[in-house]
Symmetry: C2
Subunit: 372 residues, 2 copies
């Protein structure tokens, strides 16, 4: 990990770095295969969600629980989970039913249940996060507490929480592996809560170091990628070091994903972003970009002269982003994310050299090359 180094290399001309994504390292061919891999697995995951989380009595609760899941989402984490199962077992992509996927001893495991469980956890965190941030919109639709009400949104999140554990118990894996998968899921959820609590703490002032920020996004965001990448390895009975390598891959690329999210908030036009560009700056959120800028002497708390996200104008945001760019902070964040992606991809070196591993590396690149 080289991301603690806050200096910007002089040989990188800042002018090349003004677009949203990182400098592309993926070839068009790999990019196409990754897009297809995500699209095809997304369909199976969506079927799995409908099968294992049906709208049932009491209907309103389950409608609220399914609301964001039905509204869309790329299904990156469950796609990563399914690819990881294929990579470890050297199974050619999409050739086997994920409900009876052969483990390393040839016994059938329902890895789709694990993929659904991970997406259900993700959806629970979004519902509760939107309440905490009082966000009105998510995935182009009203947030659950806006569409339903506060009570129902809290309960819908709580329902998804235990449902995820129930669904993770439906993999038919041997009991010792099930216990480990469950344990990973539980500690992951605790970490997400801890990371979210730190994120809130950081907003309320105090100096935050780059190290503290990276710890926070590891807990808040990256642990769920680590769970998605490593749980299938646990379920199919992989070696310890394979499980650990996939977990580290998830931690690396998951942190890069969060940094890219912070970059996109600054560099993507509001209409494409689905929310006001620069809202993190207006709300005083700590990101790797503002932490770096503060170190360079930029007064990040007065960068944007606006009372609220509703009243800020685009020119003020553009001027603030220009200051961050001049301080090298945009580039610093971008390089940190790119380094994490390279670290993450290198974690897979011990895995078989199959198409699924190529796609796992491709997804890593995709996480920082995406523009939304």
């Amino acid at each position: 990990m080289r991301c603690q180094d806050a200096t910007v290399p002089a040989e990188e001309p800042a002018g090349l770095l003004s677009v949203g994504g990182a400098r592309p390292v993926m070839t068009d061919d790999v990019r196409e295969r990754v897009d297809e891999a995500i699209a095809r697995r997304r369909e199976r995951v969506n079927e799995g969600i409908r099968e294992q989380l049906p709208i049932q009595h009491p209907e309103r609760l389950y409608e609220a629980s399914r609301y964001l899941l039905d509204a869309g989402g790329k299904r990156l984490r469950p796609t990563m989970l399914l690819l990881s199962a294929e990579a470890v077992t050297d199974t050619p992509p999409m050739t086997v039913d994920y409900r009876s996927f052969p483990d390393l001893g040839g016994e059938p495991i329902d890895v789709l249940s694990a993929a659904v469980a991970i997406e259900v956890i993700q959806s629970f965190t979004l519902i509760h996060d939107d309440i905490m941030d009082d966000d009105d919109m998510r995935r182009g639709v009203p947030s659950v507490h806006r569409e339903f009400d506060l009570e129902t949104a809290i309960l819908a999140g709580d329902t998804l929480y235990s449902k995820a554990f129930e669904i993770m118990l439906e993999t038919d894996a041997p009991a010792d592996r099930s216990v480990r998968a469950l344990s990973t899921l539980a500690t992951t959820c605790t970490s997400i809560c801890e990371g979210q609590a730190l994120d809130v703490d950081f907003e309320h002032g105090a100096d935050v170091t780059v190290e503290e920020y990276l710890e926070m996004i590891e807990w808040k965001t990256a642990v769920l990628y680590a769970a998605a990448a490593s749980i299938p390895a646990i379920l199919v009975g992989a070696e310890e070091e394979t499980v650990a390598a996939l977990s580290q891959y998830g931690l690396d690329v998951g942190r890069a994903f969060q940094i890219q999210d912070d970059l996109l908030d600054l560099t993507t036009p509001s209409e494409e972003l689905g929310k006001t560009r620069g809202s993190d700056l207006v709300e005083g959120k700590r990101t790797l970009i503002t932490l770096h800028a503060r170190k360079q002497g930029v007064g990040v708390d007065s960068l944007v002269d606006a009372e609220s996200v509703e009243t800020v104008d685009e020119a003020a945001i553009e001027a603030a982003v220009e200051q961050l760019r001049e301080a090298g902070s945009i580039e610093f964040a971008r390089r940190t994310a790119a380094d994490l992606i390279e670290d993450g991809k290198a974690r897979l070196d011990g895995l078989p050299g199959n198409e699924s591993v190529t796609l796992l590396r491709g997804i890593a690149d995709y996480l920082v090359e995406r523009s939304y």
Copy 2:
């Protein structure tokens, strides 16, 4: 189950039934032994909570998570769990370390972890319930969202949720039993959410039958008693029918507990209750008492002429309770609870005739004889 019968037997003079608790069936001796059993196990459970849920980084999150647990509570459910472990294995009460409790094959199991997990789940539900009901007080202290804030209270509940699963995984039981205990915990949590959602639905009108009400309190309240009573049997490796009997015992006495809670809301003075007496009536909550009264032609929605819990006077509540008493509704609820307790105690007939089984029957009686 005889509680669907809404008629009041003529031979029961209503005058005897005006106090809060049921007609006592416990002897003073058993009552004393139950009190002592609860008090002694409570100390071990409190130690277990401090050991397995320490205040750690990020501190504010864990302070909020521990806040209600530290504020008190009788620890009825974990006490039931520990008694159940002793009852099934025929282990003399409090003679063995609960952290290395011999299962039916003599192997050590940490049943205290299971007891702590159940109490942690109970605490999570209280924190989120208080947000949903916007209740200011709990256990004589401000509710978590009042003492801290909404964000922290949601996160504290979410943290306890996954911590409970982590702690339930620390029993050292064989993996197949652990999986079953985890599965029971997960389905229990889902049921609690479903029951809570039904409770909210019921408030918003529509006729509710006695059967629907009993289903709602089974899900909202009784399933956690069922988990507390049956999980130790799973962990020590008991027979299927023993697990089932203890689960049914929990469902019966848990429903009785909720009905007793509804009765206490009407019959206990505000100062003893810790909240305004009759608040359920003012807020239009559906209880077995008001459902019965409505069937008898009592206009339960206009029983109390008050805008809010803050402005209601004691005389208005007393007059309303008198109407419910005259309609036989208080007695109906009391008899239903008493019948459920008798059913619950009878479920234990197949267990060994040891002191712990006597205490489990005693706790059942205690649940409806308590006055707070």
